[in-house]
Amino acid sequence: MSLESLYQEIILDHYKHPRNFGEVPGCAAAAEHENPLCGDQMRVAFRLEDERIAEIKFSGKGCAISQASASMMTEAVRGCTLAAAREKVTDFLAMMRGEREFAALDETGELEALKGVLQFPVRVKCATLAWNCLAHCLDAAGKDGS
């Protein structure tokens, strides 16, 4: 177990310079989630265009892992259909439970940097916070039939 495997360069970069941080005006769906372990709050919202996620943003306060994971997630699912985004969420959560091998879910492969979190079981909740939040978002959007 090394700190470098947990806090890889890519993770620190996303933490210090989060992508897609903020709010989405006129969003199709939004969800908020809290990590009871640390009290971190996360909000994820997106807007659809031609049945694809045209814009997705996250906001809230959190540790390096939760913020970097959220930042990378927004990049990974932007442009996806709801079904494709749902599949990525399912795959990522399965990887973080150690149920399947880590595989690239995003074009850049940056998400693989979160593999190191598996060595720190208490931090898995930090990495999955945004993804659980997105799952609720997708549920909400699905119910609206949008």
Partner: protein, 426 residues
């Protein structure tokens, strides 16, 4: 305006105790402290969550299982007899430790949380009605908040709150307004598990008594660290957890004035808490056994007895004085780092320091410190409402006990500086 009583002022001055603890000798009594974590000596600074256990406690628990494993209060055989004697001896030790007036005023519980729930059910559901009020404070641990929320929902009673000032002290100016003839119970923490504030317990208890309310003191963070005398405080009910003072998990006690315990209905029902049982009704055992249904945590409470004996042998005043010195040292060292913000600056404070380092999330800081063998807590410390008052979702917390040293504080400070470099926020 309520004036703080002399009895409460004593908590500030550490009882004028000057004797130094032989910390190296004390550390040798705690096997867990000898270990290395990730190749570094363990620096255990999460004592507000739970304390390490002295060898005498571990041996008491193991000894019970090796020789005396039997149920209590039931059989005539030798093992049951030894187990019963040891279990009840532990009650006597807790009684002396708190200077309680009689052994029957000590009810064994699994900890402070169970003690509070016991009172909320056993007393609250039978003594409160719509329009009655329970006075709490904004700095309560969830365990001294949520049981009262459930009680309020069940009875129609209202919850009222003493507010926390910016310096981490309770706003006693509001006490006179908040305490009325409607107030039936005042339940508050002796020492804040976040701010470290030592609340003026005797002052609040006397004020509550003037309006006819009874009082419950959550002593989870005080009983392990300073002398607590239930008779001097004149407190009606007091709860604490054994694991925070070096005893086993699932040990602890509720102290109650006899007339209050006798006015309470049982909490859990079953074996041992009855005197006679028919098919359709039963009569209760005497206090305190009326509240100890089923096979209790025998080994754990015997371990608790060993823990309070250990603390007594070291001396609670000396322990308090040691922690006061260590806390003052730690505050000075932490304040010397410009990026560190400390929450809670009450003049009377215990060895609990919650802080933030600018630019580093507490969870990340705790992770980095852990890699150096330094154990601190990050989170809301089961006090979310207080963190809303502080306008923070989480803080980092270092908390001390009798075995901690200035060198360990130095290790913490060095660890914080390294974390600042790691995240590039020096």
């Amino acid at each position: 305006m309520v004036a703080v009583e002399e009895r409460d002022m004593q908590a500030v001055g550490a009882w004028g105790h000057n004797a130094r603890l032989d910390v190296e000798r004390i550390r040798a009594d705690f096997p867990a402290l000898e270990q290395q974590v990730y190749g570094r000596p363990l620096v255990y600074l999460d004592n507000a969550a739970t304390a390490q256990k002295p060898r005498s406690v571990i041996e008491a628990v193991c000894g019970h299982y090796r020789r005396d494993a039997a149920n209590v209060h039931r059989a005539v055989h030798a093992l049951s007899s030894r187990a019963t004697l040891a279990y009840e001896e532990a009650r006597d030790r807790v009684c002396r430790f708190l200077n309680a007036p009689a052994r029957e005023t000590i009810v064994f519980t699994r900890g402070a949380t169970e003690g509070i729930n016991l009172v909320a059910y056993g007393w609250g559901r039978h003594h409160l009605r719509e329009g009655d009020e329970i006075l709490l404070t904004e700095m309560e641990h969830h365990s001294n908040l949520v049981p009262w929320q459930l009680l309020a929902q069940a009875t129609g009673a209202q919850l009222r709150f003493l507010r926390v000032r910016r310096d981490g002290t309770l706003n006693l100016d509001e006490l006179d307004t908040l305490l009325t003839e409607r107030t039936k119970l005042v339940a508050f923490t002796h020492v804040s598990n976040v701010l470290g504030t030592i609340n003026p317990a005797a002052t609040i208890i006397d004020a509550a008594h003037r309006v006819g309310a009874i009082t419950l003191l959550d002593a989870a963070q005080s009983v392990p660290h300073m002398p607590v005398d239930v008779q001097a405080l004149d407190v009606d009910l007091l709860v604490f957890s054994g694991h925070k003072l070096g005893g086993p998990t699932s040990s602890g006690a509720l102290y109650g004035k006899r007339e209050i315990l006798e006015s309470m209905e049982p909490f859990l029902a079953g074996g041992d808490m009855i005197s006679s049982v028919w098919l359709d009704h039963a009569a209760w055992n005497e206090v305190p056994w009326k509240f100890e249904a089923g096979t209790p945590a025998i080994a754990e409470q015997i371990g608790l007895g060993a823990a309070v004996e250990y603390l007594t042998s070291v001396g609670m005043e000396a322990i308090h004085a040691h922690e006061q010195r260590l806390t003052a040292y730690a505050l000075a060292q932490l304040q010397a780092i410009p990026a560190v913000e400390i929450y809670g600056e009450a003049p009377a404070r215990a060895g609990v320091i919650s802080f933030l380092v600018a630019g580093i999330h507490p969870h990340d800081l705790a992770q980095l410190l852990d890699q150096e063998g330094i154990a601190v807590r990050a989170g809301n410390h089961c006090a979310q409402p207080l963190h809303r008052v502080l306008d923070q979702v989480a803080t980092c917390r270092a908390s001390f006990y009798l075995y901690n040293t200035e060198a360990e504080v130095d290790a913490l400070v060095a660890g914080i500086r390294r974390a600042q470099r790691f995240f590039g926020v020096e």
